[in-house]
Structures are given as structure tokens and as C-alpha cells.
Amino acid sequence: MSEPETTLRFHSSRFGDLEIPESKTIQAPEGIIGFPDITRYVLLDPSAGQSLFLWLQAVDDPNLAFILANPLDFIPGYTLETSEPDLMRINISEKSHPALFVIVTVPQNDPDKISANLLAPILYFEDENSIYQVVLESGNWPLRQPLLAEDDLGSGGVQ
């Protein structure tokens, strides 16, 4: 006999009232950079797999949400060096292989300047439902990698 699963009810300013099985919540033991005290998140995929983006919504702060993307959709060759100090700090060698996400920033006044933070990606350890953000010191990855170049923003004519 399994226990009935606990449902977590919380509010998101973007997605309204949410009900998520507690087992789906993700722990960020170290928080996210700039938000060290917010440690419970959920991954939301409002498009059910159709979108390039996922949302990392904080459980305990309705306004806090990050747009995540799979870096390999945009940046071929984006990899983590296992010698990165931050990867050693989180004992990555003792964990399962993580899914890798980058945080996407959409500027309020100029959404076409959408960029991805390749310097500080998110590692998602699905088997333990945890995420860690690491800062990559050795790869010279940019903090704001533009995802759309000027050429992509024209009227759509054939180049």
C-alpha cells in the first residue's frame, strides 16, 4: 500500500494557481545565484514538449521564474569540463549524469536581444530531483550569448 501522494498547491504570478505532486518538486540545495534562500522549484513545460523553453518556477516566491533552454539547441559543442572547480564542489563524480540547461534572458524592451547564460548553467539531476548552478571558470563561455543575430531579425527575405 503506497501513501496517497501529497499535492503542493502554490501560486505563480505567471502561471496562476498550480497543483504539483510533491514528488515533482526540485530542490536547489544552494539556491540559484542571487537567490540563495529560494530552494524549492518546479520545472514547467506549458507547451508539453513543443517549445524550446522550459520554466523553472520557484515554489516559495510566485514572482521568481527562470526560462531554461537546452544549450545544444543553440550552441553546438557546449560542454562541461569535469575539471571545473564548481563541478568538483558539488561532487559531480558521485552523482548520475545531469541534464544541462542554460538560463535565457529576454530583455523587457528588446526581446530580440534574447540571450543565454553560458557562463553559469543549471545541472538537473533527475534521479535525485535536484538542481545546482555552477560557474564555469575555464571555458570562456559568455554570460550573455545572443541567440538571434542581426541577420535573423530581418523581414525574412532569402539571403
Binding site: I32, G34, T105, P111, D112
Partner: protein, 76 residues
């Protein structure tokens, strides 16, 4: 803001256990060494700025952005 002048190899001490050393100065670049307890998180300022900006995405049409991104992917 407290402003102090330091030369190469000179140090600053903050509190009881944070030590900052000016390791090198070349042109407009200053190389800084920091000794601090591991529980003290140290980030470049622009990383925190970027994280705060990313933390509250604006209410813009992501679908439109995505179709531009997907179009770009298809071309590549």
C-alpha cells in the same frame, strides 16, 4: 563607498577572515586574489546583475521569439 588605493601585492582585509590581494595590474585589468571561507560566495558583479534580470522574465510573446529561433535553426 569606501575607496582605497592599493598597489600590486598589497592586501585588504575585510572582517576577520576575508583577505583580498591585488595580484596584478595591467592596463585596465586588475587581477584580484581572494581568500575567504567557502561559505562566502564570490561572483562577478555582472553575473548577479544578469541573474536578477533573468529571474523575472517580462510578459512578452515567447512564441514569436521561438518561431524566429526555430527558423534560424532550420537554416543552419
Amino acid at each position: 563607498m569606501l575607496v582605497l588605493s592599493r598597489k600590486k601585492d598589497e592586501k585588504l582585509i575585510i572582517g576577520d577572515n576575508i583577505e583580498i590581494t591585488i595580484v596584478d595590474v595591467k592596463g585596465e585589468t586588475v587581477k584580484i586574489g581572494i581568500n575567504a571561507p567557502t561559505e562566502i560566495k564570490i561572483y562577478r558583479g555582472e553575473l548577479l546583475d544578469a541573474m536578477r534580470e533573468a529571474a523575472t522574465p517580462p510578459e512578452v510573446d515567447l512564441g514569436e521569439l521561438e518561431s524566429k529561433l526555430k527558423k534560424k535553426k532550420d537554416i543552419e
